[in-house]
Symmetry: C3
Subunit: 438 residues, 3 copies
């Protein structure tokens, strides 16, 4: 049995404060506002201006929708576990708050203007996007990692993400407006690779806390519904303004609507008594948003988006039912939230749909070959990056919880004692004692 060092009192605060202090120093050196006066001496900046013709705030409502998806959507989606809600929504906030600062730096380090990074709403949206990769991977290792491990994962994953994104989008000129490949597939396979390295044989037969309660499932539905509603914003936020952005909204709207029907139908179909399963509804209804991401701004027409959505909904539900148990038992990949079914396979489906759409000429200046390279690159960086990150996270000093404390907030959080439970225990204690005496 390994030694566990789960007291976070010094290592967590020190790590968090050092990361934040370093970030602030780098920001002091590099990061300024992208205000109109900062453009005076900068002819090269015309491009960004063109995309915000009217006002620097044009994209702000889109930004807020994406913001809600990151902090409420991902955060509450993971509260489905009965005793892990504090960590789900709380650590989600922590990782995203650090990740957006780090992501904004690395995403823009490639194109400084006068040696500075100029922050505007579009870059804040992209910074939020970069955190989504981490939150997806967080889902794969949910309940089995410490805050210290997760901060390190955030640092490393966003670094790898920014390299891959730069390569795919800037160098290879791949079209991935809703980031099926660069965020969803990347985040999922990165997280699955980490989960593989952190494999816990002791949880082979499950864990009593690795399940939901009635109300935790309802909290999770808050996350699901927000993600479902605002996904059109996710897929269109950084699209070309005008027709392309409108297409991205419409395609995502219809893909998700068709996907929801498919997820409900399949959930009922795969269950002996025809009942619906909350795990499927919470997740597979969203697969259509993932899968339509790459093609979202392309001219695939509403029915094309619906075909993608219905396919994603079926694949995702079937994955939850049949593939997740096999991944755990045969490959040693314990995927707590089933991110493989929500982000992994639908992300690949999105990449494949993009290749087909490019081959059919659904978007100008996009080649099927580049799209395929973009998918391969995203998967490659994810798997290699995830394996290395997993090995680093395995260092015992980083506070990984022992098997019996998995899926339990109380190892890293003060948890209110439930009065009724307490009374219960006292009563039963009395009773047992009473019985013993008798």
């Amino acid at each position: 049995m390994p030694a566990y060092a789960t007291n976070m009192r010094l290592k967590f605060p020190i790590l968090a404060l050092i990361l934040e202090a370093v970030t602030i120093i780098v920001y002091a050196l590099l990061v300024v506002y992208d205000t109109s006066d900062s453009h005076r001496h900068d002819g090269s900046h015309a491009e960004t201006n063109a995309s915000h013709p009217s006002s620097p705030m044009t994209l702000y409502p889109m930004f807020q929708d994406v913001h809600v998806m990151i902090f409420i959507g991902f955060g509450f989606l993971m509260t489905f576990l009965k005793r892990y809600g504090f960590s789900s929504v709380g650590i989600n906030l922590l990782l995203a708050a650090f990740g957006l600062q780090w992501g904004l730096l690395l995403q823009n380090i490639w194109h400084l203007h006068d040696g500075k990074i100029r922050v505007n709403i579009e870059r804040m949206i992209n910074a939020d996007f970069s955190t989504a990769t981490v939150l997806i991977s967080f889902g794969a290792v949910l309940g089995k990692t410490s805050p210290v491990q997760l901060l390190i994962m955030t640092l490393l994953e966003i670094t790898v993400f920014c390299i891959n994104e730069h390569l795919v989008v800037e160098v290879l000129k791949v079209s991935d407006v809703g980031a099926s490949m660069t965020i969803h597939a990347f985040g999922a396979y990165f997280g699955l690779a980490v989960a593989r390295v952190l494999y816990r044989p002791g949880l082979r037969n499950g864990h009593e806390n690795d399940g939901s309660s009635y109300h935790s499932d309802l909290f999770a539905m808050i996350g699901t519904v927000y993600l479902w509603m605002f996904w059109p914003s996710f897929n269109s936020a950084i699209a070309e303004p005008g027709d392309a952005q409108l297409r991205a909204v419409i395609n995502t709207y219809f893909s998700l609507a068709a996907c929801a029907l498919a997820a409900y139908a399949t959930s009922s179909l795969v269950e002996k008594k025809g009942k619906l399963d909350m795990v499927h509804i919470q997740n597979a209804t969203l697969a259509g948003g993932v899968a339509v991401g790459t093609c979202a701004d392309m001219d695939i027409q509403p029915f094309g988006a619906m075909v993608i959505g219905i396919t994603a909904g079926i694949i995702s539900t079937v994955g939850f039912k049949f593939l997740t148990p096999i991944l755990a038992s045969k490959l040693g990949i314990q995927d707590t939230c089933g991110v493989h079914n929500l982000h992994g396979m639908p992300g690949i489906l999105g990449g494949l749909a993009g290749i087909v759409a490019a081959a059919l000429g659904k978007k100008e200046k996009v080649s099927a070959t580049s799209q395929a390279c973009g998918l391969a690159s995203s998967l490659g960086f994810a798997l290699v990056g995830g394996l290395i990150t997993g090995l680093i996270m395995k260092i015992p000093f980083l506070g990984q919880p022992p098997d019996q404390n998995c899926f339990d907030d109380s190892i890293f959080w003060e948890v209110p004692e439930e009065e009724e439970e307490h009374e219960e225990r006292l009563t039963h204690g009395d009773y047992s004692k009473n019985k013993a005496e008798a």
Copy 2:
């Protein structure tokens, strides 16, 4: 005792997938993006362009507010039942996801351009609106119907709604910007008619699950507060841009504020000990949004909106306290959520206010006679459509749950076993056994 066929395994998936497949085929034939290049050969489309002068995305933030009302607002409002939260928010999502696809088709089938329906944000808002009628009716029959019955209701109700809406708005030129008549009164009386047909004498004396728990009431408040906050968007989303839209926002804002005070005051007044009742707060605070709908864009001034709001808040609360029990016992209408009090009476009040406002000349080109015809038409279509739909839904094959399984998710959902309850039962079992042995 009737035979029950509540196993959904085949009939639900088959129905859902057929509906979706047919929808996709029709979309492939008829539905395209309303992008600027699609207007090239279409002079008649200038009108729609005029209402979006700046960008195809102008209405997008409004759309997202309405979207939140449909999926979070209606969905969580109905989670007040202690053991029916999965169905409330889950089936709400299912019905709205199908309904918006169906609604978009039928609402626009009357005015094709070059044989095509062109989707834009305004039409997505209207599609979302069309689902609201179903979600209101869902409230009347909540807990007593199967997903198969409800999908059929969605199909039929949206069809009838689109016919009535076309007649009222396009033919009779009735003004109903916030849809007090065409959505709220229509949805309520349609649902009440269905509930009448599905009357269950076995639930005359109530049902142990037909009530709330402390936390289910808090989940419901999420729905209430979102509906309350975003109702100005609901009533103004499709108003004429400019002053009319601003008026719609302001009138709804003040109507709801006044209504909230009235609902709280009345709730305390009608209760022996002066306590507030969550049912009133969750619902009657919203009646002001319903009732001001028809007049929202008219020149009724803020105080006029507040008078409408305060009236609606009082009527609605009194309805919950005194009328709902009478409807159930005397008329055989078991209205689970009390939609008659939130949407029915306030919807009629809104229609009447619109007639008065029209007579007083508060909006140009609107006649009091037409308004009255619009209200009569909406009520007529609702009652007749609801009765016929109810008869169709009564077919035993459609999986209506038996009385004892009403208001209980576990008949159509996998529900997590609550550990404490389980332990409890074991412990009590042991104890009884022990007692018995002693």
Copy 3:
């Protein structure tokens, strides 16, 4: 022991309806729409037009973000108490619904046009803002006051707020775009003064209901996360359009991100076992939004905002851990939600940061002396106003609950009986009886 008169049946409805009736009458006399036709004869109104160049709806998405913060953010943040969720979210809605009507009147009574108040979106945002002061003070006295007391507090506090705001912003020309001083510090010290007057020695040793449960903490996180996400809108909503507004968004975004890291780190550091405390996470993560408020639109650069945020996060967490108990035991200030740590100290920090920024010339036409006067004025009005208001609220007739019924919804609300608890009690009753018989 004082006499308690907690039956609200007559006094609450009568007070609420009188307040609403008077409000409607004043609105009928004074309040009109700010539509374009109302400007025809009004040259002086050009200024307001200039800030809305494109459309009367430009600020509407910002308004809705602020609206969500007021009704969901504040409302759910206070649901952390295990048996006080109905009051937290319900009375929050009541007070804000009345407060916004009253605030809109008093904020604009200083500058009538043709004897009228013209409502537009910006004024609705300001009306929402005015209610925030009351909701902050509500946090200080949460669980220990009646709805009647709180309606009176709303009336008085908004009145004092509007006087101070007029003095500080209009007369002294203080810059306080995010209202660190005029809303946050004001609301906190007003509430603390009220709490001082209403000091309850009987709660010196705590109260069994003055704590959270697992799910109530998750409901509270809904409030936290919404406040955290939308705070950039709060701080930028009424900023000068263009660069200043963009700066306000960016500064708040980064201040909150840095603050979150600091709050998590400090929470773990001050706790013996290094565990995170939900109270800190729910509140101190937001202190960065408060503290950056005054400087939000100034040219402090992102790293400056982050320094403010990290400072606020540390101060706030330390305040919860060490200062709140001292305030209660030494000064007789029982601050239920710890508003001193979230709004009080960070508000003062914001005011001080504004003085420094003004001295460093970070905003044109802003003097450090004026800023200091603005802070002093806000604190002075808050303390004096709060003391007087507290004395008025102490009148026994107003229904203050007795100590033993504090922090308990059931004194003013119908609360559903929890079935399990009920069974529990029966079972234990049986058991005890059985034991007794034995």
